[in-house]
């Protein structure tokens, strides 16, 4: 064993273990990359060898890379990874060498726009932003939609305070894919009041990929993808854990969440993680009144076990999600007259006092996911990934009033119920650098069936999807990366429903190509361009084809059209990023979606009459539409302590056929914040205070004469945040505090469906404490 010298310019530690060999050009350099903050192995980092560009490579899943056929000499390695500062390492090779490279972690003070490279992620040329590290700690306790809304270009469409769906560039639900732990989330996502059935505490990173990602994930991902990523289970033997407690002042909400992770010393190949969350909240308060029946109760858990063999990694995951969400009782209406009465009264009829009691109307949602995955390393260059997942989703909705008949009322059956089961599988082959090319191809398939009970809204159906795709990337040199991908999908759906006392079984088949083309241009160390364009499509969803029923919340009928055709779009997105370490970060994104047959609900001339009066009717129809806009984010370090972050997002969404605006699109908005970071002192770190202000303009761009009420006025909100982390003997204790709507303003948001009835939530203090620990032998 001979120790040799390894110099790191910014890096830190090095080891080596080298038996001497004869002095020819057949030395092998083996290295492992990890990050200095978590000791996490850095998979998919790019390693550029300055002296021998042809030997450039990337790390595998486990942060390892091998460079063969080296002569003795000094080599300069430039390592870059999405989570770390670019690191340059000088390696002196006089024999086969094994080294360890530690890379400094990025400060995640702002949501940096980063570029990833991993097969279960979409093309790298797309724009990606993420919430992780401290940024994630500041949104712990919030639901998924609210958590991602801090990213530029991402907003939420809400139904009250507890139901929030993420919106990317004005698109959501059927146009936005959520990938939970590598599996397409299959819930009843067609409904605007159906929030994603995911516990955000599962994630150690939430990434938003903007732009169509259909080639990798199949149709539907027209607007983009949200990736909910649990961290990789620890590779080092030992135990680690995390306990979170979050409280909210406004609705007396409490969250507790715990994670326990263990890789035993004796069986290093095996590791497991268990995780659980409980959440209970009461009635929300607006500045002037409380909203009756707006509580929530939720409990979730997950268990994950992995087995890491030399040649393969096996992974099994199970999660369960249970929630009961109270719906503000003043939002459940008998008819359109009631709606106008609600709109015209300044204070809703059904205000309440503080209570945790959940009464009618409410939703009860259950979701479970079982996933099994095997990654097999064929050789240095190739690996195979096989994944199977089963999801079961059950949604019960209870109306405001139970049956008048006492014996029926005692059964307390839901008025609407859906059960959706999805089996999905995929097989992917993936190769590392072969003649400067990296890439992957795969096939995926799914089988899904839906049943309903109670009142009709969407029919029973079975649907099968099969798709095949191929993405290749040319890693030209340090300046240019090019990539291209193509996919073909077939979707078949058979519907079973009653019509005129007969069961009818209409069938639908949709098939189409998707394609993507992109480039990354590293113009200089500081300036980088990501450009991506392509074609994406989606089949009409079951509700767009067949829905037929009344939305009590909007006092409106929703009618499907079973002759709808495929919706397709040409998409382009480009991002310019300027990065000066500890100085300036700028990212400017422009996007454009050119839709043919954009599906949306349009009002009908004739209302539908029932004994309860006339209801406006909306029927799904198709038009050509264009959506375009820009997201801007600027982070500036005034000095080592003070950082300024500002963001802005603009969107224009036009119906090209009627030359009018599209309904329900987010208004233009901007925000600015200042953070002050104190220097670390003794055991204290992450000492930070900050304040922020957000301005959301009135949405002037709405279609003429369609909505029940004009869009609400612009609003301006102020918030504060602070954090402190104390290092303890066995771990650390982090405290974060955020204050939202600090000035207790009364306002309404255009994208909240309850804007017709009630104000938004008032002053709210969130207090979060996280204890994390690690026990390992070295």
């Amino acid at each position: 064993m001979i120790n040799k010298l390894v110099t790191l310019l910014i890096g830190l530690v090095c080891f080596l273990v080298v038996p001497a060999q004869n002095d020819s050009c057949n030395y092998t350099l083996t290295a492992t990359l990890s990050d200095n903050e978590h000791g996490e192995q850095l998979g998919y980092a790019t390693i550029y060898v300055v002296e021998l560009p042809k030997k450039s490579t990337q790390t595998n899943d486990r942060g390892q890379f091998i460079i063969k056929g080296l002569c003795s000499g000094t080599y300069t390695l430039v390592c870059s990874h999405l989570n770390c500062e670019r690191t340059t390492v000088k390696v002196v090779v006089t024999g086969s060498t094994s080294i360890q490279i530690v890379m400094p972690h990025h400060e995640h003070t702002g949501s940096t726009v980063v570029v990833s490279d991993r097969s279960d992620r979409p093309p790298v040329s797309q724009t990606r932003s993420e919430i992780s590290g401290r940024q994630l700690d500041f949104v712990r306790g919030q639901n998924l939609g609210q958590a991602v809304a801090s990213l530029p270009g991402v907003t939420v469409v809400q139904t009250g305070g507890n139901i929030a769906k993420p919106v990317i560039h004005g698109m959501h639900s059927n146009r936005l894919l959520i990938l939970n732990n590598g599996v397409r989330q299959e819930g009843q996502q067609w409904g605007i009041e159906h929030a994603p059935e995911i516990d955000p505490f599962i994630a150690s990173r939430i990434s938003v990929i903007k732009g169509a990602s259909a080639v990798r994930y199949g149709s539907d991902a027209i607007a983009g993808v949200i990736l909910i990523e649990p961290g990789d289970i620890r590779m080092k033997p030992g135990i680690q854990g995390e306990f979170n407690a979050v409280g909210f002042s406004n609705n007396g909400e409490g969250n507790v969440a715990a994670i326990w992770e263990h890789r035993p010393e004796k069986y290093r190949a095996f590791a497991y993680r268990v995780q659980g969350t409980y959440r209970r909240g009461g009635n929300y308060a607006t500045p002037n009144y409380r909203l009756n029946n707006t509580g929530v109760e939720e409990y979730n858990f997950s268990a994950n076990a992995v087995y890491n063999h030399r040649r393969f990694d096996a992974d099994i995951f199970f999660s369960q999600f249970n929630t009961t969400i109270g719906i503000f009782s003043g939002a459940h209406l008998g008819n359109i007259t009631d709606l106008y009465e609600a709109i015209n009264s300044s204070v809703p009829e059904e205000t309440g006092s503080f209570s945790y009691r959940l009464g009618r109307p409410y939703q009860q949602v259950y979701h479970e996911l079982l996933k099994a995955r095997l990654v097999y390393y064929l050789n240095e260059d190739w690996k195979i990934r096989i994944q199977y997942a089963r999801q079961y989703n059950r949604r019960f909705e209870y109306d405001k009033h139970g049956p008048r008949n006492d014996s029926l009322a005692a059964l307390n059956r839901p008025d609407l119920s859906y059960e959706l089961t999805t089996h999905s599988a995929e097989l992917i082959a993936e190769h590392n650098m072969i003649r400067r090319m990296t890439g992957s191809f795969g096939v995926s398939g799914s089988y899904q069936f839906n049943t309903y009970a109670g009142r009709f809204f969407i029919p029973n159906y079975r649907a099968e999807n099969v798709g095949a795709w191929w993405i290749e990337r040319w890693n030209g040199d340090s300046i240019l990366t090019l990539e291209a991908g193509i996919r073909y999908d077939i979707r078949h759906m058979q519907v079973f429903m009653w019509e005129n006392n007969l069961i009818i079984r209409p069938q639908h088949q949709f098939r189409n190509f998707s394609a993507t083309l992109g480039a990354i241009v590293r113009y200089s160390d500081r300036l980088q361009f990501n450009i991506n364009g392509g074609r994406a499509w989606r089949a009409p969803a079951p509700n767009e084809l067949y829905s037929n029923g009344l939305h009590h919340g909007a006092a409106a009928f929703e009618l499907g059209d079973r002759n709808l055709e495929t919706e397709a779009a040409w998409n382009a997105i480009a991002t310019a990023t300027w990065h000066e370490h500890d100085k300036l970060d700028v990212s400017i994104t422009g996007y454009w979606h050119y839709f043919d047959n954009f599906i949306y609900a349009t009002p009908q001339d004739q209302p539908i009459v029932s004994i309860r009066g006339a209801f406006p009717a909306f029927r799904f129809t198709q038009n050509n539409a264009t959506l375009y806009g820009t997201d801007v984010q600027v982070g500036y370090h005034l000095n080592p302590h003070v950082q300024i972050i500002s963001k802005a997002a603009l969107l224009r969404a036009k119906n090209r056929d009627t030359k009018d605006w599209l309904i329900m699109m987010p208004a233009d908005r901007g925000s600015a914040g200042v953070n002050y970071h104190f220097s670390d002192k003794g055991n204290w770190s992450d000492l930070m205070i900050g304040c922020n202000a957000q301005y959301v303009n009135k949405q002037f761009r709405v279609p003429y004469g369609v909505d029940f009420a004009p869009p609400p006025n612009a609003y301006f909100l102020v918030g504060f945040e602070a954090s402190a982390n104390k290092k303890l003997k066995t771990g650390s204790l982090l405290t974060t505090i955020t204050i939202t709507n600090a000035l207790n303003q009364s306002y309404r948001d255009y994208l909240n469906r309850f804007r017709y009835y009630a104000d938004e939530i008032g002053f709210n203090v969130r207090l979060h404490v996280k204890y994390s620990f690690e026990i390992s032998k070295n």
Binding site: I316, E349, P459
Partner: protein
């Protein structure tokens, strides 16, 4: 100790997987008949009796047999009354989806303290008086039994609104949810 932890966690994982997974109730091919848990109201009948002669005068109907469904009403009568006449008017509400039909007006009478009919008259000379009361304190009208008196001939509308006001009944039409809201063309001749 560690072996125990591993064994327990393995058992737990497998246990969750087996017991946790909900069964696929594969009844896709045989959609369940639509069930409306809240007995919906499909039909309303206004039964008019001439109060002077105490003889049945006419029954006015509104019938929409798919309830909250999107089909149009199958029957929507016009009210024709004689000028300067007093009528007793009883309201009957039915759910005609089951056979025999459910009489929903009986349920309304049972929950009289939470329900009230409102009658809005426009364009014609017609007065309305409640003849029934609930047991609230002070008592409030229900509107299942009424008296109407016509004046001079004319054409206008007669709107019937039934409000469900659990715990909030206050004699005001703006309170609560609308269970019925039907406007009849009305001719006094």
């Amino acid at each position: 100790m560690k072996n125990t932890i591993i064994a327990l966690s393995l058992i737990a994982t497998i246990g969750f997987t087996i017991t946790g997974c909900k069964k696929d109730d594969d009844l896709v091919d045989v959609p369940q008949p639509v069930v409306n848990e809240q007995e919906i109201i499909t039909s309303m009948f206004l039964m008019l009796t001439d109060s002077a002669t105490n003889t049945p005068f006419d029954t006015i109907a509104f019938r929409d047999l798919d309830g909250d469904g999107s089909n149009a009403p199958v029957q929507w009568d016009t009210i024709r009354l004689n000028a300067n006449t007093t009528y007793l008017m009883n309201v009957l509400l039915l759910n005609e989806i089951p056979n025999p039909a459910d009489t929903i007006s009986n349920e309304v009478a049972e929950e009289a303290n939470d329900h009230q009919f409102f009658y809005n008259i426009a364009g014609i000379s017609l007065t309305h008086t409640y003849l029934d009361q609930d047991t609230n304190n002070p008592p409030l009208p229900i509107g299942l039994v009424n008296k109407i008196r016509t004046g001079a001939a004319g054409t206008g509308t007669f709107q019937v609104v039934l409000k469900h006001q659990p715990g909030t009944k206050d004699g005001q039409q703006t309170t609560g949810d609308s269970d019925v809201d039907v406007t009849f063309q009305t001719i006094i001749q």
